[in-house]
Symmetry: C2
Subunit: 476 residues, 2 copies
């Protein structure tokens, strides 16, 4: 195959960061612009996000939530109402100081998240227990003034949904917090084929203003972790700061209990780094904008193109099928759609037509399968399901092979020097130990998993007795 047809990608093992950048640009997911730290999400990247968004939006609605839209700006005084929250976000926000030719009397923040706006609105519309629960969500862009950025993983602006709910009781708020964490886990596991580790964040790592933060953590191909979705229980902290009260059935004023939860375009980074390989992206069938790409072989020969187009029309009923009938060489097309991670390539040429068959090439394994024409409607969806499951199992195996248990801080360090991954270790609960472990290893506590194991009896840092197993990792 002529060199000019190949979009070169740095090998993963050679330079993982470079491989990542190559893939996001060469698979046409993003482009850079002259705005520092912001990316242009190109049609293929946006189609991926749209599919993820549609799957998640359906689940958000199924669980009783309604979509709303809040303003982009937050007045400085509003942001300052909840003191932990402002402390967490003020250092990393963009400030609007002028409107038109005029200097503003009060600066506005470009929303980094919208708790304060939802709280102000809730204080306005919640009066009685009959108004509860309020289960709102918004799809929006947010801005955080990051120093170093990488496409999808950390950008000044990103797209996300943020759910914000208000409940009569703390129990209901806690139920909601975990319900939505589980929704995120389902999206990752069932649609994105990415296994998740569920657990609670430590005090140090929790959200600014939250009582408790829960997270799903995923493991990338290079052994680094990615926080892939978080859900927060606010207790009544924001309600007290914003005076959100309701009259209960007994006629007594009560503060509401709140939650928030968010899922972002960052997940596309996870998708790339969990499933991708040296030939580019690998997209799980369920969220693939195109599931099957038909590449006609010897398409100048009579009847081939007509046959291929007819096939496309037939198969559109069972899968998202496209055809590339351009005059580019098949070799160029093979590379292009491998780079884009399209799950199945369907090749059909004069010989296949004669033999009443086509060739299906799996993107994930490279396997080529001959399928009789009249079996396609049955075999194609089955193969897509198989690929979906295989991708999940491969990712799960990778995570299991790269999850390590350590009993000492020395073992922790040498493990990370040898091979990165999830590190299970006991912790006494003292933040001083957490700080020290981070300082000495550069790994951060990812979460205290719901599924606890007593991997030893003492804190790997201070040696005191410990009953919490924490999973640690270097993280994106």
């Amino acid at each position: 195959m002529a060199k000019e047809f190949v979009k070169d990608v740095t090998a993963m093992d050679e330079d993982f960061a470079k491989w990542y950048t190559d893939v996001v640009t060469k698979a046409d997911l993003i482009d850079y612009s002259s705005v520092r730290g912001c990316m242009i999400i190109r049609p293929y990247g946006y189609a991926l996000w749209d599919n993820i968004k549609n799957a998640l939006d359906a689940k958000i609605k199924e669980t009783g939530h309604e979509n709303v839209y809040m303003p982009l700006f937050i007045p400085e005084s509003l942001l300052q109402k909840e003191k932990d929250h402002v402390k967490g976000f003020a250092p990393e926000v963009a400030w609007v100081t002028h409107g038109g030719e005029e200097k503003l009397q009060e600066r506005l923040v470009v929303r980094p998240t919208s708790e304060t706006l939802f709280c102000e609105h809730y204080a306005n519309i919640i009066h009685s227990y009959r108004d509860l629960p309020k289960l709102y969500n918004q799809w929006a862009n947010v801005v955080r003034w990051e120093k170093t950025t990488r496409p999808f993983l950390r950008t000044l602006e990103f797209l996300w949904q943020e759910g914000h709910t208000a409940h009569a009781t703390q129990e209901e708020a806690q139920e909601e917090t975990l319900r939505m964490l589980n929704v995120y886990a389902q999206i990752c596991e069932k649609y994105l084929a990415i296994p998740v580790l569920k657990g609670q964040k430590t005090e140090k790592e929790k959200f600014a203003g939250a009582e408790a933060t829960y997270t799903i953590e995923t493991l990338m191909h290079d052994g680094k972790a990615l926080q892939s979705g978080t859900s927060h229980n606010f207790g009544d902290g924001f309600a007290r700061a914003f005076d959100i009260k309701y009259l209960d059935k007994e006629g007594k004023q009560q503060f509401v209990h709140q939650t928030s939860w968010g899922f972002t375009t960052r997940i596309i980074g996870a998708l790339i780094m969990v499933h991708g390989d040296n030939r580019g992206l690998v997209v799980p069938p369920r969220i693939a904008p195109t599931q099957v790409m038909i590449v006609p072989i010897a398409q100048h020969k009579e009847g081939v193109l007509d046959f291929a187009y007819d096939l496309k029309e037939r198969l559109r009923k069972v899968a998202r099928v496209e055809i590339d009938a351009s005059d580019k060489k098949p070799g160029w097309k093979f590379n292009e759609y491998e780079m884009k991670g399209i799950p199945i390539r369907l090749e059909v040429g004069p010989k296949d037509i004669e033999n009443k068959q086509v060739v299906l090439a799996r993107r994930d394994s490279g396997e080529k399968i001959f399928v009789a024409l009249d079996e396609l409607e049955e075999k194609l969806p089955a193969l897509l399901e198989e690929i979906q499951n295989d991708l999940y199992n491969k990712a799960l195996n990778h995570r299991e092979e790269n999850t390590f248990t350590v009993q000492t801080l020395d073992a922790f360090k040498s493990q990370l020097e040898n091979k990165q991954g999830f590190i299970k270790a006991m912790w006494c609960g003292d933040q001083a130990c957490e700080d020290k472990i981070k300082e000495e290893t550069s790994a951060t506590s990812r979460c205290i998993p719901f599924d606890q194991e007593q991997v030893s009896h003492t804190c790997i840092c201070c040696g005191k007795s410990a009953d919490k197993m924490v999973v640690w990792a270097k993280a994106y």
Copy 2:
């Protein structure tokens, strides 16, 4: 019906502006926030927008466009590249001057529109005639620093889609410009039941940086006009400013020809002011989040609620049906869903069950119709269609009755003093006349309609010979 159940709305004829504000708030479309000029779009308002958006997005995709996402910010230097464009927008933008604790070296504009970003991207990805056309669209929020604001009609931040395309020739760009204007017209007429007037903007009223701007203008209940969608042909003006060139088939460098077109949340203001009445909103069935609201009568009586729920399940297959089985009184429910403009109320009580019938009450006409239970699947969709058509025809009649032809400037003025509406009048083409007419009447030129009539032979302002008929109106 007890007074306490009624959400009072100011009568339209008494104070149309107050009526509008009452409806947007009491139909739960929006709430205000502490951010000046920005609104909170509440669940019902957002559901309306979502339906409009889905209908338009489908047509945008059908016509071959792809969705992308561009950054929220535009560096000042980028905005300045096209001189008419920056002159038009610089006075009304929000400026970001600080990121975190730091003052930025270059100020950033919060996008008022994204031509400059698309141009920069196009310069980067268009090289050959094979790369054309590029047919991109984005759904996004934009900010314009307006002095006076009104919900939906004019807000600091609004939601919209902006299409941006690049073509090999001026002819193709012109075709695209008109194609998308027609798509907007279809959305208005077929989905929103709002008749549109299509035409070209004068030089004075065209978009900053455009060669030609086309518009759809709609007439509100009070006789004022609302610009409801615009489509611009840029020629190669932006291409020259941003150096967007391609190699044509003969190997020569050519500038591309571009278009842009936008449709915004402002259309919800049109929906309110075209169809609404003194009892609140009237929503056309095709974009109604709920088309039929079931209100059980005497629901405490045995069997009524079960019957109503069964009916809902049955009818969900033919319409978007909801049920209000709360313990609020039927009178409260009638008012509430009239205020929200739900096209049909379905009443069912013990007597109806006995008689194997239900009552359908039309929101638009107030008419009540008894329908036999076993005919509902047939009659309900037919009635929704009928309502949709009736709303369109009513709006069309209103527009025709409020479109006036004048031969002199005096007649123009006395018409507007008597009754507002679309004013057809001849114009010589001189901007001085356009300026003077605006100054003396407060009406602006809405467009030069595609359907021209020679309503007289001289300009109503200067008396010179004139061959352009312009439609004028006071406008939102």
